[in-house]
């Protein structure tokens, strides 16, 4: 109240005012405005559909074209870089003999076991870590540390522990992904706003009901996303696992092809590995988008 009275003097005499900020400081230099950017360079602006399609096509077509030209010109020896045509032929040949399907299935099966087991362990533990401070204190330091041990370095140990069958390969995928999944699932669970949990209690929910009817549904899209991202790591590990000791599998096939310098075969297998990986990624992405339709 006193402050207000001082600002409005009653008499006619204007009091000595202190200088304004403008009078106190010199004028700031003004920068030339940056001007409107072109569509391609505008930050985070949607592009017209046609330009987008063009860019997507180019990202596939240009490397392919370079490859074609390099192969056709003979600038690089085919022993190092086989022509696309040769790769295609090698791929078709492997598919026809049936070894491609056998190898691909052997690899995919290892992923299903190893990664599936990893997810089955990581999701409950991650949810516990994200929900209970006790679980977080107990598990986070360990998993945070183990995550940084390179899984591939475990291969010799696993061979000693588990022999040379399928188990060391499955175990490698498990070890290489389970800690990442745990931490990422826990993060997704921690995104659940505390207000939502508290309000649920005032609506009569008990602890278990809050977990099952509030925390899990809220975190589910994030959990599926974590599983999708780490799937890429599992896919990388399975090939490493097969390089060491196995009878079949895409990684094993690459190793065999290398022994006979069949680069065309190696390329064909790499293409198959890429295609299977992308397909799985797209499938998980679609799943996530369906589950997370409500996400704003």
């Amino acid at each position: 109240m006193a402050g207000l009275a001082k600002a409005r003097p009653a008499g006619g005499v204007a009091p000595e005012r202190p200088p304004t900020a403008r009078q106190l400081f010199g004028a700031l230099p003004r920068r030339r405005p940056s001007g409107p950017p072109g569509t391609l360079l505008a930050l985070r602006t949607p592009l017209p559909g046609r330009i987008r399609t063009l860019l997507v096509l180019a990202s596939v077509a240009v490397p392919l074209l370079v490859w074609l030209v390099l192969g056709a010109s003979g600038a690089v020896e085919p022993r190092f870089l086989p022509a696309p045509g040769a790769v295609w032929t090698a791929g078709v040949e492997m598919a026809r003999s049936g070894e491609l399907v056998t190898d691909a299935w052997a690899t995919v099966r290892r992923i299903l076991y190893g990664y599936g087991l990893g997810v089955a362990v990581a999701v409950p533990l991650g949810v516990a870590m994200g929900s209970f401070t006790a679980a977080r204190s107990a598990l986070e330091p360990v998993s945070g540390l183990l995550r940084y041990l390179p899984a591939a370095a475990f291969t010799p140990l696993l061979l000693i522990w588990l022999g040379i069958g399928e188990s060391p390969k499955i175990a490698l995928i498990f070890i290489g992904t389970v800690f990442f999944n745990m931490l990422m699932v826990a993060d997704a669970v921690r995104q659940v706003p505390l207000e939502l949990v508290n309000v649920s209690y005032t609506l009569g929910a008990r602890r278990g009901e809050v977990l099952g009817k509030v925390i899990l549904p809220y975190a589910l899209p994030g959990i599926v996303d974590a599983v999708r991202v780490n799937f890429a790591a599992a896919w990388g590990l399975v090939v490493v696992a097969e390089l060491v000791n196995s009878q079949e599998g895409l990684g094993k096939r690459i190793l065999l092809a290398q022994r006979f310098t069949q680069t065309d075969k190696i390329f064909a297998i790499l293409v198959v590995i890429g295609l299977i990986g992308v397909t799985a990624d797209v499938a998980l992405r679609i799943t996530r988008d369906r589950i997370g339709r409500w996400v704003p």
Partner: protein, 257 residues
Amino acid sequence: MTGLLELVGVGREFPRRGRAVPALTDIDLRIARTSFVCVVGASGSGKSTLLSLVAGLDRPSSGEILLDGNPVLGPGPDRGLVLQSGAVYPWRTVERNVAFGLELLRIDRAERARRVAWYLEETGLTALRSALPKQLSGGQRQRVAIARALACEPDVLLLDEPFGALDVQTKEDMQLFIRRVWRDTGTTVLMVTHDVEEAVFLGQRVVVLASDPGRIAADITLELPEERELAIKRTPEFLELRARVEDLVRTFHQHAG
């Protein structure tokens, strides 16, 4: 009228840098059944702390809180809570948000549907029953939160700055809305707000909290007609009450800034 909710010598301290700093001290408050009480105070006066104590989400350091004579020991559907953010379930449709509390009870489907339909109609959400929260405006989302709390038949509806994030026009719509819902449902409302005009327009009683530590500075029963239109805000009686409460809030807000 009988006292429904009673706070007896309630205090709450929070530890800060090794010391216990009081957020609320000596709160004595008695709220009658079916009344509408507003709590105003500057930020830092412990308004929200008061509400979470009544909700049972927090425990008082001293004193006790009684609902119908029974001590409040934890959160429950007898004290519905609506927050400024609404905190609706984003994956549930409007209808299933309202049904949440009822789904936890053992009542049959038809009964649940009947109740949900009534509250949807009462809150003007029937047409939006299948919409997801992301498709709603801020005001509509608050209606969902209010309907969801009311569907559990709370003895007291606790409102924590429920219209604080809304634009002025929507806010006034919501003020008329909550007055109507209060009368139609026959519930008791305890609302916290920093908006004095809102408190005077809505409440039968306004409790002013002083800051640092939060304590009751004044408890004013408003002599305004029960039927209130927005136009009442321009009448001299209203303006005078509002000025009186505003002066109180300002006087007891020493630690400005």
